[in-house]
Symmetry: C2
Subunit: 232 residues, 2 copies
DNA sequence: ATCCGACTTTGCGCCGGCGCAAACTCTGCG
DNA sequence: CGCAGAGTTTGCGCCGGCGCAAAGTCGGAT
C-alpha cells in the first residue's frame, strides 16, 4: 500500500504528461496506492466524494442501480484514466459505483488536491476537460443509439466500443481484455442477457465472434461494424 | 447587433457571478450579440467550433441527426446557460447542432477567449465544471431511463425535466415555456410521435395535463411523478 | 472428488409499441 | 378569404424482444 512508486508509472499518462520528474514525485508522494481484488468496490454510489482516482492497472467499471434493482453500466475505465472525478464537477457525493472487474491497482488523492493539480499546470486541466469531453461524446452516442437503433445494433456498438478501448490482438482476432459476461453486455446495451446470448450464438455461427465463458473475441470486426450501422 | 449591452444582463448569471462591474464590461465588449429567429440554426454539427455562446433570452435546443435522418434531441438550453462549449473540451468541431426554438438573443465569443476567461477568475472555471457535471448527470439519468424504463416512464421523465427547467406557473398548472410538439417529445424520449400523442391524450383525459398545439401544461405534477417511477 | 453456484443456452408465448394509413384541425401566408 | 402545410389524433395489424422456464456447462471452493 505504501511501497514507493516509480515516477515512470504515471509520467507517460496523459493527465500528467509534460511534467518534470520532481513534480511527478511530489504528486506521487501525496497519493495512496490500493490493490482491489476482482469484484470489490472502489467507491459506492451516494457516498461522500472524498477522493479522486487514477487506474494504474486492471479494469474498473462505473455503474448505477435503479430503484428496482436493475444495474446499468455507465462507463468502462481502462488503465491510465482518471475516475471518480465527481468532486471536480462540484458534486459532493459519487453519482455511481466503481467496481474492480479484474484485479486492479488504483492511486487515490484527497479531493482538496484537485484544485492544486488544476492550478499547478494547465496540462492537467486541459487533459481533464478533454477526457470529460470524450465521455460526454460517448454518452451522447449511446443516447442516440438507444433512441434510434434496434437491439442488434446496440449490442454491436457496445462490443465495438469495448474492442476499441480494451481490445488485445490474438491469433484468432481481437479479444476483450477483461472478464465480461452476457449479463454485463446486456447492462451496457439496455437489454436482457437472453437476447445477448441468442445474438452472440448467432454471430458465433456466422464466424463473426468466438466466445467462451466470460471471454469474447471478435474475429471479424468489419462484419460487426456493418451490423452496427442502422439498417436502412 | 452591436448595441451597448447592460452589465446587469450577465452579472447575475452563474458563470459570471462575483465579478466586478468593470470586469463584466470588458467581457461584454469582447462579445458579439445576435438575434436568432425561431427555427434558425445557431451553429451546425460538424462545423468548425470557432465560438462559444451564452443564451441571454429565448430557448435553444441541441440535437443530432443520425445517418438515416432521424433527429435526437440531446439537450434543452434555458436562458442564462453557456452552450457550444465544445472547444473547451478539446473538440475542433461542434458535436451537435444548436437551433433556436423560439426567438433568442445570444452572446458569442471567439474560442481563444475561453482560456482567458478560465484563467482570469476561477469562478468561471468552477461554474463551467459544475454545469458540465450537471449535464453529465442528466445524460446518465437519461441513459438509465432508456435502458430500464418503459415508454410511458421515459415520456413522463422528459416532461418533468422540461417543467423543472423551463416551467412557468399559470392558473391551471405549470406550462412549458416554449413551443414544443409531440414530435419533439418523441425525439427526447426515443419513441414516435404517435405513441406520445396517444399517451398525452390519455393523460389529458385523466386530468394530468392540458395541451394545445405546440403547448403543454402540466396540471398535476405529482401524478406525473408517480407515472415516472419505474413500475414494480 | 464432489458439490454448489455462476454462467450460458434454448424454447415458447405473449404484448407493447412501431409502421402504416387516413382523417381532422389549426395557423400563417399569399 | 382560402389554401397549403404543419401538427395532431386514432385505428389496425404485425413482430421484435422480453418474461418465464428448464436444462446444460463450467469453474472454483470445500
Amino acid at each position: 500500500m505504501t511501497q514507493r512508486l516509480d515516477e515512470c508509472l504515471i509520467m507517460a499518462l496523459p493527465p500528467f504528461a509534460g511534467l518534470a520528474r520532481d513534480q511527478v514525485r511530489a504528486i506521487l508522494d501525496e497519493a495512496t496506492s490500493h490493490r482491489h481484488a476482482a469484484g470489490t468496490t472502489v467507491f459506492a454510489e451516494a457516498t461522500s466524494a472524498l477522493r479522486f482516482f487514477l487506474l494504474l492497472d486492471g479494469h474498473v467499471r462505473a455503474q448505477r442501480i435503479t430503484p428496482n434493482g436493475e444495474q446499468v453500466i455507465l462507463h468502462e475505465i481502462p488503465p491510465g484514466e482518471l475516475f471518480g472525478i465527481a468532486p471536480a464537477l462540484g458534486l459532493l457525493i459519487y453519482p455511481a459505483t466503481a467496481i474492480a472487474v479484474s484485479e486492479s491497482i488504483v492511486l487515490a488523492w484527497p479531493v482538496r488536491l484537485w484544485a492544486v493539480f488544476m492550478a499547478q499546470h494547465d496540462g492537467f486541466a486541459r487533459q481533464t476537460f478533454r477526457t470529460l469531453g470524450q465521455r460526454m461524446q460517448d454518452n451522447n452516442d449511446r443516447i442516440i443509439e438507444m433512441a434510434t437503433q434496434a437491439v442488434e445494433q446496440r449490442i454491436s456498438n457496445a462490443l465495438l466500443r469495448l474492442v476499441n478501448q480494451s481490445g488485445r490482438k490474438t491469433a484468432v482476432g481481437i479479444e476483450i481484455n477483461f472478464p465480461i459476461t452476457r449479463q454485463d453486455l446486456a447492462e451496457m446495451s439496455g437489454t436482457t442477457l437472453h437476447t445477448v446470448s441468442r445474438l452472440l450464438s448467432a454471430w458465433e455461427k456466422a464466424g463473426i465472434v468466438q466466445s467462451e465463458r466470460k471471454k469474447i473475441t471478435v474475429v471479424q470486426p468489419h462484419q460487426l461494424v456493418l451490423l452496427a450501422q442502422p439498417q436502412p
